[in-house]
Symmetry: C2
Subunit: 129 residues, 2 copies
C-alpha cells in the first residue's frame, strides 16, 4: 500500500499548477495559508518532493532554495526563466540533449545527466526598466 490520495496533496498540486513560473515551497505554503487552507509546512515540502520524483513537477536551485513548477509530465525539457518575475517557458532542444550525452561519453563518463537553464528578462519586465 503506497501513496494514498489526500486533499493536501491535491491542494499542493493545484496551487502549483496555477502558478505562472517557479515557486518556492515557502511561498507556496504562504499562498495556501492565505487562501484559508490549514495545510502544514512539512506536508507542502513532502508533496513537492513527491511531485518532483514522480515527474509531475520540475525543480531547480536558486540562491540556496529549491523552486518548483508544474510541468508537462513525461517529457524531458528545459526552461527559459525571467529572473525578475519568474515567467517560464518550456524549451525542448534535442541538440543539447545529444551534446550532453556525447560530452559525457567522450570523457568516459557513464550515467549522464544534466542541468540546463536559461535566464533573462522577459519583454514585460524590460518595459518596467
Amino acid at each position: 500500500m503506497t501513496k494514498r490520495a489526500t486533499w493536501q496533496r491535491e491542494a499542493v498540486r493545484d496551487a502549483l499548477s496555477t502558478s505562472e513560473g517557479f515557486v518556492s515551497a515557502q511561498s507556496l505554503y504562504g499562498a495556501l495559508r492565505e487562501s484559508g487552507s490549514p495545510i502544514g509546512l512539512a506536508t507542502v515540502y513532502r508533496a513537492l518532493s513527491d511531485l518532483a520524483v514522480g515527474g509531475d513537477a520540475d525543480s531547480l536551485q536558486q540562491e540556496g532554495e529549491s523552486l518548483y513548477r508544474a510541468c508537462t509530465p513525461g517529457s524531458h525539457h528545459h526552461h527559459l526563466i525571467c529572473r525578475n518575475c519568474g515567467l517560464t517557458v518550456e524549451i525542448e532542444a534535442d541538440a543539447v540533449e545529444a551534446w550532453a550525452a556525447s560530452v559525457a561519453a567522450d570523457h568516459g563518463f557513464t550515467q549522464p545527466s544534466h542541468v540546463v537553464d536559461v535566464f533573462g528578462l522577459c519583454a514585460a519586465c524590460q518595459r518596467l526598466g
Copy 2:
C-alpha cells in the same frame, strides 16, 4: 582603498587550486584547519564569494550547498562532473552558447545568462561499482 591583500585570502585561493574538483566552503574550511591554519569560517565564505565574483572561481549549487572550484580565469566554460568523486573536466561548447542566446532572443528575453552542467560517473568510479 579596496581589497587588501591578506594571507587568509591567499590561503583560500591556494587551498582551492589544489582541489581536484568542486568543494564546499565547509570542507575547504575543514581542510585548512586540518593543515594547521587558524583561519575562520566566515573568512573562508567571504574569500570564496570574492573569488567567484572576481571570476577566479566557478560555483554551482548541489543538494542545497554551494560548491566552488578554481577555474581558468576570464574564460567562459562549463563542467563535466563526477557525481561520486567530484572529478571535474572543463568543457567549452560554442554551440551551446549560441543556442542559449538564440533561445532567449526568440522569446523576447534580454540579458541572457545560463546554467549548464553535465554530471556522470567517471571511469575510475565505475570500476568501484
